[in-house]
Subunit: 380 residues, 2 copies
DNA sequence: CTATCGACTGAATCTGGAT
DNA sequence: TATCCAGATTCAGTCGATA
């Protein structure tokens, strides 16, 4: 058993919310054998940063399914995916969600993935348990299996739910990292990713080891968006360990629960081979991630904006003067770049970085341009 | 009140399932005043082909929200979207779903649209009531409102559930029309459509009449995919009548329920102005809609494949002869293009159109190529 | 007449730390 | 718990005015 210091410095996690210097033993980098509810009972309360769950889908497939060319579709018919009634599936779902909620930190988060067969039940139950849905994410499959019989729309997506511990609970979202990943546009709730096949798909003797292996790109985005380096991620339905593999690569700690020995063996072998990204790659992500909190005063201190500089709004309705401490003065009013802009406009809020402009070499630029220059210099 | 003959000839509806020559009075082309559950009680059982419902989402919004430029976001704050608890919302949902199920024909279908705030509750409840989810459809908005605070993923989609009356119930799906609409690819479960704005958005004195008016393109696809001309469509949350307008355009009958007089008035005015597509346009759709069950015999009859032509599989394991009635002969075996292909391969099924090939001008082509030529000629 | 620019808007569960 | 205040934050599209 590894020993984990659960208290970490995290941007949005105030010290009062985190357990104080509580050393707890967590089975990091291990796959717990047996039923996931039993396994999770071994985990201390409020010790996990993220739970990612890919529970059985409760697929109610009828007879065999064949493609138009006669070949057989290898459907999910494993015993672990059989539930007699909605009631049985609901009970099962409630049980594991209750344990997941207990082991999560107050600012931890839950992800669940499912299809229309089960996700509506899972979603309603987790809301009943107090989880607060932050987004539902659509994984739009770029290469889904067609509907061979032409009886319905091609089932081309699956759904993920991202939840905090409750309505008022804190949570972590790496907004910048996601925006960067999406070519400087906000990341949307629909993600286009291919299904897991090719070299990534684990096979044994020509057959896929697990019927519903998830693509690593999916876990990559989940972990990058809602965890920090060093966070502990638990997957109650570990399967062949996609969560563990990506966690290891991204420098996150992981714990799995899995009943099937075949899956556990395959997962351990797979994760063993996985190499963590080196520090520099992770740091680059970190830089993209953390908010560039620059005080305007820092620009003045460092000579990017000289005291006495005249700042004005786009329409030059107001012209203010920069003071040595980084505050602005307009007639008798003074304040921060944000506060003064807000006052003058009578607006509920104002982003001073884009509101105020200055002249530089005959060019008019928002002061945000100076901030960018400063950031570039500081990051080197 | 109009009088409707509920028995119609419909491809997949066997006579035994439809009520026998039962004449019932339905308020076609009318908006029923008042609560939708009360209103639906006036509708006879098993008389409606399709229910499309856009219920309140129970958004549970907090305080005000401003855009980064300081402008105010006009949120949905109407009373009709306010529920005290999940329990209250669930009760409301169960009530209208029970009535919807009663008035639907045995082979009728239900569509519901919602967001993550409500759709998981709606989905679980309709499953509990025996509705059978056929697909969940993701409406991916091409122009959603951004997440102004950078706190979550852009909420860029809404979800629709398409359900039959039960696991074994029949339903209608215009596979061909959807495939045609999607450039000859199977229509997928994710639809990219813009939100409703511009000239389509109903306004009164510069303000939107309804806060959540749905785009007509969405209803167009719903009605075209799962109803026939002349079907009766009921919308329990009629609002400003998008369902009615599109139904009228597509030659479907419609019934609405709506409590708010302002919405009712706007809807009636709007639908009044709507013009039905003329018969020829609808017939063209009809042609696209019904399965292109081109009998292989028709190709033979019309000279696209001559009797006596030798057909063979790709690997030329078998070579069969086309007979005058469109059947094939291989040694002592005969059968349809599909049946014989299946027999020879010992496969559970076979698509004869792609299995069998013929030579034409030195080129080897699947007989599906001949079918395409035939379809092109017939459609003119 | 066209091109450009600015204002406006859409089902949104939309901050956080210090006092 | 309530209040205050510093700081951070938007995409696609329509429409009308201006050049």
């Amino acid at each position: 058993m590894a020993v984990l210091e659960t208290t970490k410095t995290r941007a949005k996690a105030p010290a009062k919310r985190a357990p104080k210097q509580l050393s707890v033993e967590l089975p990091l980098g291990q796959i717990l054998d047996g039923d996931c509810v039993e396994a999770m009972r071994q985990i201390p309360s409020a010790s996990i940063d993220l739970v990612f769950a890919d529970p059985p889908y409760n697929l109610q497939l009828g007879g065999d399914l064949n493609r138009p060319d006669g070949s057989h579709v290898d459907a999910v018919t494993d015993d672990w995916d059989k539930f007699d009634t909605f009631k049985a599936y609901d009970d099962f779902t409630r049980d594991w969600l209750i344990e997941a909620k207990r082991i999560l930190k107050p600012d931890g988060a839950l992800w669940v993935i499912g299809s229309y067969h089960n996700i509506y039940r899972v979603g309603a139950i987790l809301q009943d348990l107090g989880f607060w849905i932050l987004n539902d994410i659509v994984w739009r499959k770029s290469n889904p299996m067609p509907n061979f019989r032409g009886t319905r729309f091609t089932n081309a997506h699956e759904t993920l739910l991202w939840c905090s511990q409750g309505e008022k609970a804190k949570y972590h979202f790496n907004y910048r990292a996601m925006k960067t990943l999406n070519d400087e546009l906000q990341m949307r709730s629909d993600w286009v990713l291919p299904i897991c096949n090719g070299a990534e798909r684990l096979k044994e003797g020509g057959h896929k080891v697990h019927p519903t292996q998830k693509p690593e790109s999916l876990l990559y985005r989940v972990l990058l968006s809602t965890t920090e380096k060093g966070d502990v991620v638990l997957d109650p339905f570990f399967g062949t360990g996609t969560t563990g593999a990506v966690a290891k690569r991204l420098g996150r700690e992981w714990i799995g629960c899995e009943r099937e020995g075949v899956y556990r063996d395959a997962a351990l072998k797979r994760i063993e081979k996985e190499l963590p990204l080196d520090e520099s790659a992770l740091t680059t992500m970190q830089a993209g991630r953390s908010a560039p909190k620059v005080a305007f005063g820092a620009l003045v201190e460092n000579g990017y904006i000289a005291p006495g500089t005249r700042l004005f709004d786009k329409k030059r309705r107001w012209t203010a003067t920069v003071r040595a401490d980084g505050s602005l003065a307009y007639e008798k009013q003074t304040g921060s770049i944000h506060g003064l802009g807000k006052e003058l406009q009578g607006a509920p809020s104002c982003n001073g970085w884009t509101f105020w402009h200055y002249e530089n070499g005959g060019e008019v630029k928002p002061i945000d341009a100076a901030r960018q220059l400063y950031l570039l210099a500081v990051e080197d």
